[in-house]
């Protein structure tokens, strides 16, 4: 393995490239330049997969530089099997987003592309940070480009949507900040620890029960808003509806994953006892998202809103998978099969995150394709699109099927793993989780039926042109990813195996009664 600072390149190349695009300006070459930067970043991210050591849960590609000495904040980067797939997802989706904006965005295209490239770099920073304060800075910094993307290139109510989005997420994350400072000071006051923001140190730090619960709640607020979990999800439909296509894709495919990822990186290993004690709360919120939000999606008239709600429901599956660990461990007192099921649940959540990145991205791109032609997202304005756009219809139906979780597509793998694992925890949880297969199918297929099939609804639909080569390329790439992950998920699950195993061990180790599992500790 070469000793290159690949992660730094992945963070700073898009950011510097983004400012480069700003300097090039709207005149000429901005698009080509941006695409070049995005492609280069994607190519640079491939070695992460190729050179990844699958036999260890240790951080890899580590970079370390002292940064702010007075707070012991370090520029500490590294990835494991959990963050690596998400970085690849991010670099891949950004290429598509640049292509998607190619002809569609007429207004200040260089700023548009620059915002996405800067966003890409910052999000890579979020996934690669091993220092909690570096993570927080990236986590917050992410808001700025997205705020501008929705606000400048969005729809009619874009200002309301973007300010709501910003304030919601900012509100959540200030509690994260307080918790991190608390942990930092706790480390300074604990024997054998130093005041440090290093995530690895925080994961080892012993914490009492009450602080754990408060910290867990603030993590839940910070990351729950980002995921978003019911009931703090209401910013998402607004943001999605108003955002330009590229913004929606990034929002659904990437930023929601940040919340899920942060649960794995922070909530489970840092405050395992509180997570074990309050897992019912998260399970309840996740199941509500799956069932209730699914029904909400059913009645939407706006295509983007429908997909937005379906995103919330699918992300409910992710958090469900992550937090099933505790109830599985409880029901089958720490034997080897429970370990395997806990891993299965968590892995299912991870696969679901990646797969949802592809599928929701694809769904929003499809809606973008329609919107560019018809300038409406109202479902009733469509009907019989398949007659005029057969190629598009084929893609749309494929992605819709993936969204419902059809076997053979990536949507099936994650959901199946989570549902399978949930039977080990509680039959009722499993049954409620399984309803997604029906509800998800209902709203997605009904959408397909109303938009794609049937007779040609009106004159505007009759004049539709099928997708261009550019659109074909981006949809085909996603279709390939969805099918590949659906038919052969092993390359993905392989890389995360060791890290997930390590994480489950950490999540089950009590920090109150050292050396015991959280399940036992709770009964003390």
């Amino acid at each position: 393995m070469l000793d290159l600072p690949i992660l730094s390149f992945l963070i700073w190349l898009p950011i510097v490239g983004g400012f480069g695009v700003l300097i090039v300006g709207d005149r000429f070459g901005a698009k080509q330049f941006a695409l070049g930067v995005a492609l280069l970043t994607f190519l640079l991210s491939l070695p992460l997969y190729a050179w990844f050591d699958r036999t260890t849960a240790n951080m890899q590609f580590v970079e370390f530089l002292p940064w702010v000495e007075s707070f012991n904040i370090n520029y500490h980067l590294g990835i494991d099997g959990i963050s690596m797939p998400l970085i690849l997802l991010n670099t891949f989706i950004t290429v598509l987003v640049v292509i998607a904006g190619w002809e569609v965005i007429k207004y200040r295209i260089s700023q548009y592309l620059a915002a996405f490239l800067i966003m890409e770099g910052v999000v890579n920073g979020v996934f690669a940070s091993l220092d909690a304060m570096l993570f927080y800075i990236m986590f917050e910094g992410m808001l700025i480009p997205l705020f501008l993307i929705i606000g400048i290139w969005g729809g009619a109510r874009r200002v309301y949507a973007t300010i709501k989005f910003f304030l919601y997420t900012f509100f959540g994350s200030v509690f994260l900040l307080i918790s991190l400072i608390y942990l930092y000071q706790l480390g300074g006051g604990t024997e054998g620890f130093t005041a440090s923001f290093a995530i690895a140190d925080l994961q080892k730090l012993p914490i009492g029960r009450t602080p754990q619960i408060l910290i867990f709640l603030s993590f839940l607020l910070a990351f729950g808003v980002k995921v978003p979990m019911w009931p703090v999800h209401t910013w998402l439909p607004d943001a999605h509806v108003e955002a330009p296509t590229g913004g929606s894709v990034i929002l659904a495919a990437i930023t929601l994953k940040v919340g899920g990822y942060a649960f794995l990186r922070f909530a489970l290993p840092i405050v395992p006892d509180a997570a074990a004690q309050l897992d019912w709360l998260v399970l309840f919120m996740s199941l509500t998202a799956v069932v209730y939000i699914g029904f909400v999606a059913l009645v939407q008239q706006d295509m983007k809103k429908l997909v937005a709600y379906s995103s919330i429901a699918h992300m409910g599956f992710v958090t469900l998978g992550f937090f099933l660990v505790y109830s599985i461990a409880e029901s089958a007192q720490a034997n080897s099969t429970s370990m395997a099921s806990a891993m299965l649940a968590m892995q299912g959540g991870m696969v679901q995150m990646v797969s949802h990145g592809f599928i929701s991205g694809a769904m929003f791109l499809c809606i973008g394709v329609l919107y560019d032609r018809m300038h409406t997202r109202d479902i009733n304005a469509y009907g019989g699109v398949a007659n005029r756009m057969p190629m598009f219809a084929a893609f749309f139906v494929l992605f819709a099927m993936a969204n419902t979780g059809l076997p053979g597509t990536s949507g099936f793998v994650g959901e199946f793993m989570v549902i399978l694992a949930s039977f080990k925890s509680d039959a009722w949880v499993a049954i409620l989780a399984s309803t997604t297969l029906i509800i998800g199918a209902a709203y997605t297929l009904w959408l397909v039926k109303r938009v794609i099939f049937g007779d040609i609804k009106n004159g505007e639909v009759a004049e539709l042109q099928d997708i261009s080569q550019r659109e074909f390329v981006m949809l085909a790439l996603l279709a390939g990813a969805v099918l590949l992950l659906g038919l052969w998920p092993q390359p993905l699950t392989d890389v995360m195996d060791m890290s997930i195993k390590n994480l489950v061990t950490q999540a089950l180790q009590s920090k109150i009664c050292i050396g015991r599992s959280v399940v036992e500790a709770c009964q003390l």
Binding site: E69, Y182, Y184
Partner: protein
Amino acid sequence: MMNIAIATPEIFLLSTICLILLMDLFLGEACRMVTYLLSIVALLATALLVYSSMGGDKITGLHDMYVRDDLGGVLKISILLLTVGIFVYARKYLREQDLWQSEFFLLSLFSVLGMMVMSSANNLLVVYLGLELLALSMYVLVAFKRDDGRSTEAAMKYFVLGAVASGMLLYGISILYGLSGKLDIAGVAAYVSVQNVMQNIPLLFALVFMVAGIAFKFGAVPFHMWVPDVYQGAPTAVTMFLGSVPKLAALAMFLRVLAESMAVAQPGWGQMLLVFGLLSVFLGNLVAIAQFNLKRMLAYSTIAHMGFILLGALTGTTQGYGAALFYTITYALTAAGAFAVLILLSREGVEAETLDDIKGLNERNPWYAFIMMMLLFSMAGIPPTVGFYAKLSIIDAVMQAGYLWPAVFMVVLSVIGAFYYLRAIKMMYFDKPDNTAPIEAELDFTILLSVNGLLMVVLGIFPSVLMGICSAAVVASL
């Protein structure tokens, strides 16, 4: 012991001011530029003198009236350099608004001298002396646009309230003198350290008056009433000066009077300032939302920021003082930049002061819009701008001192505060401009503003150096 040398920078500045004052008499309208350039040279030379005299030690002199230490040095250099920047910004405004008079520069220089005296005072009366020199120059500066009713009204308000506040401070000092017979800071500190502060009613009584006087200078709630009116009424160039540099002097006054001479009485003044600080953060952020006049909005935002500074300072720890110093310096830099953007947008005879004036700035000039966005994000405390580190260090100090719930309160209100900064950014980026006249500024203005805005990001990414300077100065001097 006399040791006049420790006051060299102040003596130099005073002599130069007198010289400029005299020269200006003989220079006509056309040569005003000379006065301007001389003022800048005087400030830079003084800053150099201060820098060369900083030695990490603490030397008192002039019969123990005066002290030279690193804290004073850092404060003075920040004050001087900020004032240079403000003069450059102000030139455009004064020219366009027909206020191109040398009095602006001379009065500002006098107030800078006052602030330097405050920063180095080793005696409560010297603090008062510096404060009055600052305040009297400020009253006149606020009334600088003398045929404008609002400017005069603001000056009257400022004068009356300021005089009351000065009186309160002086009254507090006199009670303290009656109790202890001391006015020098070391003497007062020695007296206070043997008292049981919370039981000593006369001492607490003195403390209340002194805290009130200091809180007025900060513009902290409930002594904040003058801030919005003065900010709005004063000519923008004066508001820019008033809204940035004197905050450093207020902090200097706090550090000399409360932190240095009454460190032991922290439980007494800490409680009062906790209430003032929390109220300031609360009221400042909430009321700013209702403001559509940008100057008033920035005034309320200042109140909120001063709340943060007070909360950091009231912890009574060197960590807290260091954080407050860092916050004040970066805030003054941010505020100066934000007002400079207002100056940038005003034209011949027209002042830019409402939110509408920044509408569509991104379409008129993306670079200035970016600068302003960075300034606003820094005020809101969003990383990667320096405002984030300022807030982080304050909150860290506050939590370290055991005030967990005030810290939670502060961050929640900073979310509320983010709303009005976002609204301003929304105006710049998402709205169409009402006015598409090109934005013109001279090269030095443009460069300085760009540097100012970029500093928000640069200091936000590399805060270590400035943080280190601030905490080292505090540790060495208090």
